[in-house]
């Protein structure tokens, strides 16, 4: 739920990165954190296990600038991807304004992608949202690896509506597709704001 503060003239939106374990959700956030102007970002918080697997969530507050005199803040969250952390995933979707599904493009991860996408749909429903209507972007990550599924084939399996689909290599030096994905979802969230207000 977007928080609009007329008193301090701020809009706060919540974006959640979803996807199967090790698909690169935290890597997306880490890249955004590394490449953002220090004045525009807060601390990157990672609640992770000793082996750097996300335990509860990662959190990164971003300040993007002004829209119509309102300061826009985006709060980026990731969920823990591992199957058994489902209770935590559900909690993090509370009050979400936009979702980025990070798919792992490798052939052997397609089943995990499908399972995670179903799980997203289910958990969104539990929070009263509908994947068909919520601002949503599909990111195809790890496009640099050798054993990947062609884009068109992944889209056939994972696309749920006419959502923007972006190819990415979040781990690369220049984080191919990372900012484009964020931009795509931010755009949808702000457009939603023009509709619902």
């Amino acid at each position: 739920m977007t928080f609009i503060n007329y008193a301090s003239r701020e809009i706060n939106c919540k974006i959640v990165y979803y996807g199967p374990g090790l698909c690169g959700k935290t890597t997306n956030l880490q890249f955004i954190y590394d490449r953002t102007n220090p004045n525009a970002k807060g601390k990157l918080i990672s609640l992770a296990t000793e082996t750097d697997r996300t335990l509860f969530f990662d959190f990164l507050p971003l300040e993007l600038g002004n829209v119509r005199g309102f300061k826009t803040r985006f709060h980026l969250y990731t969920v823990p991807g591992q199957v058994f952390y489902d209770a935590s995933r559900k909690l993090i979707l509370k009050g979400v304004d936009g979702v980025i599904f990070v798919a792992d493009s490798q052939v052997e991860r397609m089943d995990a992608n499908i399972e995670s996408l179903r799980n997203l749909e289910h958990n969104l429903k539990a929070q009263g949202y509908d994947l068909q209507t919520i601002p949503y972007v599909l990111q195809l990550n790890k496009r640099d690896l050798p054993n990947i599924v062609p884009v068109e084939d992944i889209k056939k399996v994972l696309a749920v509506k006419s959502e923007p689909v972006l190819e990415a290599v979040a781990k690369s030096q220049n984080g191919v597709g990372v900012f484009d994905t964020l931009k795509a979802v931010a755009k949808l969230v702000l457009q939603e704001l023009t509709k619902s207000s």
């Binding site: 007329y6 919540k14 959190f59 909690l91 023009t194």
Partner: protein, 161 residues
């Protein structure tokens, strides 16, 4: 959620009074999704955005625990540290009130003052909800929000750097 000037000032008044009355270092208010609503006290050296997000995560996780054992919610959480303590409570099922205090105050005093402030805060949030409803009814589909005219250029310019 929406916040207006009038209610924002009332909220600020209530939490600053709570801070003084309870002898606390810091009082702040967060919505259940982790967005900070207002803060009062020594916030200079504190990352309040992270504090807000972690508090909401904490409350959400505790809520999950409560449901697991068949409780509606745990309405108060208390974390005791060597120097500072955190008292977290839920106001009107909607927002989270956080009080950080040290040995200059006590858990008893904080609880007492929080109770009174919670009732006042709840009233303010009720009014905000009513106001939002009223605006919806009065203006209906014609309600002109400042965001109705956000253009693609506006959005693109956010990412221009």
């Amino acid at each position: 959620m929406v916040m207006y000037d009038e209610e924002f000032n009332q909220i600020k008044g209530i939490i600053s009074k709570l801070r003084v009355d309870s002898n606390a270092k810091l009082v702040f208010l967060v919505d259940k999704n982790g967005q900070q609503i207002a803060a009062h006290g020594d916030i200079e050296n504190l990352d309040t955005t992270s504090l807000a997000s972690l508090t909401a995560g904490n409350v959400a996780a505790t809520d999950g625990l409560a449901k697991l054992i068949g409780e509606k919610e745990f309405s108060i959480l208390f974390h005791e540290g060597e120097r500072d303590n955190i008292h977290i409570s839920i106001v009107g099922l909607r927002v989270i009130l956080v009080v950080i205090f040290d040995q200059r105050s006590s858990l008893g005093l904080v609880r007492l003052r929080v109770k009174k402030a919670s009732t006042e805060l709840n009233d303010v949030f009720e009014r905000i909800m009513q106001k939002v409803e009223q605006e919806k009814q009065t203006y209906g589909a014609n309600f002109e929000s400042p965001f109705a005219e956000i253009t693609d250029e506006d959005i693109d310019s956010l990412f221009s750097e």
